[in-house]
Symmetry: C2
Subunit: 353 residues, 2 copies
């Protein structure tokens, strides 16, 4: 069944999926349903499965070539035009992605707007064969790049040099970059969303590398922490603890598992040694057209895993007072009875030069 | 006066600027006001100039290091936490950037939400000295890369090869990529938002290259159309027409000019020869932390230019039936009496090999 038909089956009223400039999730929704990558378009899906794609001059040619929906040209001011077109109708919109002002514009034009959440996301969270094939290719390329990276010299080079090395490797293999690559050495790594800098990497530290590529529109996401030369016993112990947490998280991933419980499973080994506050972020998130999407594995998650979900499993430890940070992340597919690791690069602490 | 103080002077009630995951403009607003680049943070600016920065564990360390605002740690569910914190208060939010569901969450928590538009944008639209210096550096690097590109062989290479050549040049110079580079040869260029592909570039066609880099957070944006070897008289005429339109647009850029009038000025030479429908997009847009921001130069624009605005001037002609597309774009600074081109690379039709 087509994606549009599967969405239609969930609808009480027509759903308008709007991809406005600078709003990633809406754009990803339009792309998922129609194949159109655009920063100014919308698709209206009717409960009977009809779909209409609205976009401006710039994307019209490509939209028509897709052949998956009726295409209607709108002016650049997409929301205003949709208000005119949909006046008097009862229309669902994605409340979590559509700006407040856009809903007001539709309402003021006479559209009876029904806020809806999670409809397209719930479809996107379960990957179909084509999507999974693209994610597998992206994950395999990540593995290759991490393997090649582990043979590079780290000490004496800057974090930014290695960022560029990783991103160049992805690009030369024909892939895109899923998010700004993180290479965080020593104290830089103590911030989970570290900003790589000109810091020269010295022997004796841990370096966290978090990188992902895009293949045919789909993302990979992988983190490994490397030891530069000999590192202290303290660093080895923390690494082993993080790996315990990561394996505990992986073991808890299964269909029917609650996102919050999988998160809790990974937290247990860290909390038992009193370091819970050093693991301040969630365990993981869905990955697909966006590098962060449903479902989420976090203490406050209400998601329940199902076969076909692709999620990250990435506990970390951050001790700014000691200048230490590390994280280990796999990308996994939820299967009928557990999970399959899509990231195959080894997870023992690898020593780099 | 600090950016926060300038914003405070515009406020009737406290303004909450929220930078949520996947919502560019909100993130850019937080970054503009505080310096924090984060996908999950908010800043509350009070009319008296006090500022409080809310973010989660991942960004806390960096937020505190900025020293520009009180920093309050929130859980990952930022909007829910803000609802608790701001309950009972009258708070402005940016209606064009905040999702409908986030406004509802705040309201349900008891916040008296006032939708506001254009406040941070109006400040961001007028660049201060530091911002302008960064944009000048980005534009100068673009010039260098276009100059080097014009010495490269085009024919026999694919669009994607040249995309990578351009992006690698930016990255090797230490800059980021502002948006996916467009290299569109012959018929590919007939779509204004073309997707570069494996098409091998042949002699005799026009190739449109639209590229921008990021230096210290600020974008450049430049388009040039090159002739690959000898091209037909028809292509030369269309190029000359597009250049006329671009020069007419530039001549109309001045403080006090309305965005829609500058757009119209560029449209006149094209409409007079009956090709108006081939120029289906607006003339230009503001550029800064985002590659598309205020003010806009379009038929439906209500913006009025003022000194310190940085905008693109980029008419194009798209004739899919003939497989022809071209565009010429400069980045310009609105000055006290007109504009200054920040893009210096020549605009006559350059022939490449």
């Amino acid at each position: 069944m087509s994606r549009v038909a599967r969405l239609a089956a969930l609808l009480e009223e027509p759903l308008l999926v709007i991809g406005l400039p600078g709003i990633e999730a809406g754009q990803a929704g339009v792309r998922y349903l129609t194949g159109l990558a655009s920063s100014n378009s919308a698709v209206l899906v009717e409960p009977d499965g009809q779909a209409t794609l609205y976009t401006d001059f710039r994307y019209l040619h490509r939209a028509r070539a897709l052949g998956v929906a009726d295409v209607v040209e709108t002016p650049r001011g997409l929301v205003g035009a949709l208000g005119e077109i949909l006046r008097g109708r009862r229309i669902g919109v994605e409340a979590e992605h559509v700006p407040y002002a856009a809903v007001r514009t539709l309402e003021e034009a006479g559209v009876d707007v029904v806020p809806r959440t999670g409809l397209v996301e719930s479809l996107r969270a379960v990957k179909d064969e084509d999507e999974l094939a693209a994610i597998r290719r992206a994950a395999a390329l990540s593995d290759e790049v991490f393997a090649a990276l582990s043979r590079e010299r780290f000490s004496g080079r800057s974090e930014l040099e290695l960022v560029w090395w990783v991103e160049r490797s992805f690009r030369e293999a024909g892939a895109g970059i899923a998010f700004g690559t993180i290479v965080a050495a020593g104290p830089t790594g103590a911030s989970p969303h570290a900003e790589p800098g000109e810091r020269t990497i010295e022997p004796g530290v841990l370096v966290t590398v978090d990188a992902g590529c895009v293949v045919d529109g789909y993302c990979s996401d992988c983190t490994r922490t490397f030891a530069v030369g000999e590192v202290s016993e303290r660093l080895r112990e923390l690494y082993a603890l993080c790996l315990d947490a990561q394996l505990a998280g992986l073991a808890a991933v299964a269909p029917g598992a609650h996102g919050r419980d999988v998160d809790a499973a990974s937290r247990a080994p860290i909390e038992v040694v009193g370091l819970g506050s050093a693991y301040g972020h969630g365990l993981g998130h869905g990955v697909g057209l966006q590098v962060h999407e449903a479902p989420v594995l976090r203490p406050e998650s209400s998601d329940v895993l199902e076969p076909g979900n692709v999620v990250t499993v990435e506990p970390g430890l951050y001790l700014p007072e000691e200048g230490i940070g590390l994280r280990i992340e796999d990308l996994v597919l939820v299967t009928e009875d557990g999970c399959e690791r899509l990231t195959r690069f080894p997870k023992e602490l690898l020593t780099v030069a």
